[in-house]
């Protein structure tokens, strides 16, 4: 099946096409607004940031992606939430109109679920050939760690579209913590990657920032860590321009975030049926079968330290690890189309005339 995916939940507008056969989904094309030279479409006029910007880029991207009559497309997948209603509406109304006009089925998709499905993009079309992605297809049940600017949660995925939330942040998301620390240190945009870059040269043990929620829960908290870094920076104001100091702060902060994410993931895995040889702790979580895969999802999935630390964890816990390709960690439509493909396989379509945006949508 060939699926057209449309995404406009918040800052990004994106359109993509994927081809799905059985469990394999390969990328045909992907367009992301922030990566397109806007001058090309507008001849030099920069649109102001507003839902209008989504609207203006939607059709130029659709023109590049698909024939005007929708030829070749079997279904349309669109993000209905979570996000900002006016932004979401651009994608949703476009998708509804296309579904209606082309007579194709419409699949509403949750943005968070889209991030999880990024790891199912198993091949990318390069020229005429297919380049396989390094990661294999995840097996169920799978444990998903969703980490982005707006979300940090641990979700048990029992099957396609079947989720149980095991834990989440009680205040700030991990991506947000990175962004705010970047701001505190005067690093530009994008903050998170700049902190990670700075961290590479630093001593991860220079500062012992607090790891919150040191309890049996699978919830996270990053707001105290953020405040801790703020106080440390204020206490060492004289050293703020010293490169070594800055690298150490970044490294120690990143270490604290990754440490917490990995520890909680490890705790979750220990409470799920796994190899009987591993030690247990906390109340067991019931599933019908042992956990086979660990999936990383969301914008922070691009963080190298996190990816490396999870590789080590996955080896220890004997589960397969699935990391999204870098280009599909941030917001994009290919992941939406992929999630849509699996929903389409189950016939989970919606009536285009009735689909509405759901700004507060959650995966569970």
């Amino acid at each position: 099946m060939r699926i057209l995916g449309i995404e406009s939940s918040c800052d990004e507008t994106a359109v993509a096409i994927v081809d799905g056969t059985g469990d394999n989904v390969s990328l045909v094309s992907s367009f992301i607004r922030s990566q397109i030279d806007i001058h090309e479409a507008y001849g030099g006029v920069i649109p102001e940031v507003a839902a209008r910007e989504h609207l203006q880029m939607m059709f130029p991207m659709l023109h590049k992606a698909v024939a005007p009559n929708g030829e070749g497309i079997d279904a349309i997948a669109v993000t209905v939430g979570p996000g900002l209603a006016p932004a979401l509406r651009v994608g949703v109304e476009t998708a509804k109109a296309l579904a209606y006009a082309w007579g194709k089925p419409l699949v509403p998709v949750c943005h968070l679920e889209g991030h999880i499905y990024a790891v199912w993009i198993t091949a990318c079309r390069v020229g005429e050939g297919l380049r396989p992605s390094p990661t294999a297809t995840p097996q169920f049940p799978a444990l998903c760690l969703i980490v982005s600017g707006g979300h940090t949660e641990l979700v048990l995925m029992k099957g396609h579209g079947e989720y149980e939330r095991l834990g989440e942040t009680v205040d700030d998301a991990a991506g947000e913590a990175f962004d705010k620390v970047a701001k505190m240190m005067g690093l530009g945009y994008p903050g998170g990657p700049k902190v990670a870059e700075l961290a590479q040269g630093g001593d991860r043990k220079a500062f012992d920032f607090p790891r919150a929620m040191n309890d049996n829960s699978l919830n996270f908290s990053f707001s105290g860590l953020k405040t801790s870094v703020l106080y440390m920076l204020r206490a060492h104001e004289a050293e703020m321009q010293d490169v070594k100091f800055r690298e150490n702060i970044a490294a120690s902060f990143e270490e604290a975030v990754v440490d917490v994410l990995v520890k909680k993931t490890r705790s979750a895995l220990l409470r799920l049926p796994l190899s009987p040889l591993l030690e247990r702790g906390g109340a067991p979580i019931l599933t019908e079968a042992p956990i086979r895969s660990l999936i990383l999802a969301g914008g922070v999935a691009a963080n190298l330290s996190l990816r490396k630390a999870l590789e080590v964890l996955a080896k220890e816990m004997k589960v397969s690890l699935h990391l999204p390709p870098f280009e599909f960690s941030l917001d994009n439509a290919a992941m939406i189309a992929t999630a849509g493909y699996f929903r389409a396989c189950e016939g989970k379509f919606a009536d285009p005339l009735l689909v509405k945006v759901d700004p507060n949508m959650d995966i569970v």
Partner: protein, 148 residues
């Protein structure tokens, strides 16, 4: 009124006290530095108004909505008129023009209380808050909070 709180719990208790005085339709501005207690305050506030929603930082989501789903632990008949809370965060904004996308005019309703973090990002007085709560860091976990 000026207050000093020594813990997140005390900040939340102060927020609950403020929540009890509202009747619906109010715009509450939360102003203060990173880590000063704005979202913590929002958590106490939302809970006191009778919502079981999980209140997380709206920095990236920009606008969170919480429905009042129980009568709450507060015996104030005025509160039962409030049906929802809209929690905004303008940290990522820089230009007033960006507000258009939010269609905030639709949110100012008698059954809604609006909590906005970082309204001071905007150069001029874009909002006319009914209440402004200002947060300042003091030593350690202590915060100085002023309610106007």
């Amino acid at each position: 009124m000026k207050y000093t709180t020594h813990s997140a719990e005390e900040t939340k208790a102060l927020a609950a006290e403020l929540a009890r005085t509202l009747t619906g339709g109010e715009f509450v501005a939360l102003v203060g530095d990173l880590g000063a207690g704005k979202t913590t305050f929002a958590q106490g506030f939302v809970s006191a108004l009778g919502s079981s929603s999980r209140v997380k930082s709206p920095t990236f989501t920009v606008m969170n909505e919480y429905k009042i789903d129980r009568q709450g632990g507060v015996s104030n008949p005025a509160i039962s008129r409030i049906a929802r809370i809209v929690h905004l965060d303008f940290y990522r904004f820089s230009d007033e023009k960006e507000l258009g996308a939010l269609e905030l005019e639709n949110e100012k309703r008698p059954d809604t209380v609006i909590l906005a973090e970082w309204p001071n990002i905007f150069a001029k007085d874009v909002f006319k808050p009914d209440v402004t709560v200002t947060f300042k860091h003091a030593e350690g976990d202590t915060r100085e909070i002023e309610v106007l």
